[in-house]
């Protein structure tokens, strides 16, 4: 069973000077029903172009977009409009109608399909309860916080009981706490309604918190695709490693980040980030490293982290030793299914 399928998708934009930009260079992707699939990439990678092809806001130059068995390219305009009503979409800047109240915004897609007012009222009430907006029906959007606005947008996107929800950087304009709440809401909707979610983001944190699978988009190509856990433990491409590295740096305590350097210089020791699935015990690892590889270790941080619903142990170590010992230490950890990543070097504050 496949909910969204992209086949050899190409998208070009022609610029006023008659040159063309190739935004998507042959994308192949499948998303299963009930899955939360994340696409991550840097600015200009083609993320928005990709997601906009999925609901036909953008017409691909070649390739197919198949939603629930229906090829979008085969549809005429009215059929495409009909199809879009089965695909909800949320945006970075919410895109709510300022001339309408919360209630009226959520009712909007139902009005488009000429739903009787009584049915609309019932549906909107349900959606407001689901998204935690009860009591706000008469507020105008300018009276809401960013998080509440995105809740309204989510409720609106769900009004026509779509098969798929598309999210274009839906949390990028929100602070970390609100981001977390919105992601939890998406996760709840995915679980309760079985809704398939395709989201794009440039934040690893979003992927880590809610996605089942992800793909990395770079210069219009998908260069890596994986289940989220595998991805964090066994990233394949350099881009993937860099994403994870930047993400761990981001999590690093401030005083450490200040001391971190890229290159090995005299008196600097490597900083390792170890990650392993929750059940691998950490203390035997460390003891073993010290005993058998004559490495001296300084544990800077050890904690349990959640990726999706799995627990993952994360340790930050300063590691001092001969190059060959460092190498065999890494090999040993790899054998133990522990992912090791050298995030940089730290200079000892003598």
């Amino acid at each position: 069973m496949i909910m969204i399928e992209l086949r050899e998708l190409h998208k070009q934009y022609s610029l006023p000077d008659h040159t063309a930009i190739e935004a998507l260079k042959g994308i192949n992707l499948t998303v299963k029903p009930g899955e939360i699939f994340g696409i991550i990439g840097e600015s200009g990678a083609g993320k928005s172009s990709l997601i906009r092809c999925v609901n036909g806001l953008e017409t691909p130059n070649a390739g197919q977009v198949i939603i629930n068995g229906q090829d979008l390219m085969q549809l005429n305009k009215p059929q495409l409009r009909q199809m879009r009503r089965n695909i909800g979409m949320i945006f970075q800047h919410f895109n709510l109608l300022s001339s309408r109240t919360v209630y009226e915004n959520i009712a909007f897609p139902l009005e488009l399909t000429k739903t009787p007012p009584a049915v609309i009222a019932k549906k909107v009430d349900e959606l407001m309860a689901l998204t935690g907006l009860s009591g706000h029906q008469h507020h105008y959007t300018h009276e809401l916080s960013g998080g509440q606005k995105q809740r309204v947008a989510i409720a609106r996107a769900l009004a026509n009981q779509p098969l798929v929800l598309l999210s274009d950087e839906a949390t990028s304009a929100l602070d970390p706490e609100t981001t977390h709440q919105i992601l939890q809401l998406l996760k709840k909707i995915n679980a309760e309604l079985g809704l398939t979610i395709l989201l794009i983001t440039h934040e690893m944190g979003v992927i880590k918190e809610i996605c089942h699978r992800l793909a990395i988009l770079e210069h219009g190509n998908i260069i890596e695709e994986a289940h989220v856990l595998d991805f964090f433990n066994r990233p394949q491409t350099n881009t993937a490693k860099r994403f994870i590295r930047d993400f761990s740096l981001h999590e690093l305590p401030e005083h450490l980040r200040a001391r971190l350097i890229d290159k090995k210089i005299e008196g600097a020791v490597p900083l390792w980030r170890l990650s392993f699935l929750g059940d691998a015990a950490e203390s035997p690892l460390v003891t073993h490293l010290i005993r058998h590889f004559s490495l001296s270790l300084n544990i800077l941080q050890a904690r349990i982290e959640r990726i999706r619903d799995k627990t993952v142990g994360v340790m930050l170590l300063e590691v001092e030793g001969q190059p060959e010992d460092l190498l065999s230490g890494k090999q040993y950890l790899n054998e133990k299914e522990v992912h090791v990543e050298e995030i940089g070097y730290v200079q000892f504050a003598a």
């Binding site: 609901n55 009503r85 979409m89 001339s99 309408r100 897609p109 488009l112 598309l166």
Partner: protein
């Protein structure tokens, strides 16, 4: 003396209200669809049609370029054809409309253009038809800006209607010129000016109130 002054001012005031109200209403009825058409026929928009767009655009700009006093004169045959006479309040409505419609059209076009592209994208994503996009998203979102623009147009119409009055259109303009100016009747002149000021003030006040109410 005083009574006849009062009754002629009252009579002219009603005529002016009549001219401004009818020509205002017709200008909105004509200018609104024209403005929408200007917007959606632009290239890259919903009903992209560059030839039609440029033709409409040219028409609107010519309409705005001709000074009203000249429009009054060159439209006399048209007015005769439509109304049967070129004199009187009904006749004045023709040039007033022709003068105001292009303004309203540009005002509407610009107000709609200013609507956040994100809302249009959201509309398309929700499967709106072009018609639904216009009347459920663009016009409601732009209504405060449209009202502000229409307020300016209506105030302009008050002034133009006085001008039309001076050349036989009736209303406060003709009273001011024929009674006040040519017969040196200073109280009449003063009264008409006062009423015109009051007019402008009321229109602006109502316009501001409506725009504010609709601005979120």
């Amino acid at each position: 003396m005083f009574n006849s002054l009062l009754s002629s001012v009252l009579q002219s005031t009603l005529e002016t209200i009549y001219m401004v109200a009818i020509s205002g209403m017709l200008s909105i009825l004509g200018g609104l669809p024209l403005g929408v058409l200007l917007l959606i026929t632009a290239s890259g928009r919903e009903l992209s049609n560059p030839h039609l767009h440029h033709a409409l655009s040219l028409m609107v700009d010519i309409g705005r370029a001709i000074p009203f006093i000249i429009l009054l004169v060159i439209l006399i045959p048209v007015t005769r054809f439509l109304i049967g006479t070129a004199i009187g309040t009904n006749a004045a409505i023709v040039p007033l409309c022709i003068g105001a419609i292009p303004f309203v059209a540009r005002i509407v076009e610009n107000a709609l253009k200013a609507v956040d592209a994100g809302l249009i994208e959201a509309g398309h994503a929700m499967g709106t038809t072009t018609f639904q996009l216009i009347y459920k998203i663009l016009i409601p979102e732009a209504r405060a800006a449209i009202i502000r623009g229409i307020t300016i147009t209506l105030i302009g119409l008050v002034g133009y209607s006085a001008m039309a009055g001076a050349v036989g259109g009736g209303g406060l303009g003709s009273l001011a010129i024929n009674e006040g100016y040519q017969r040196f009747n200073f109280p009449v002149l003063l009264a008409t000016v006062m009423v015109l000021i009051l007019f402008v003030y009321i229109i602006q006040w109502v316009g501001d109130w409506l725009a504010k109410k609709w601005e979120h």
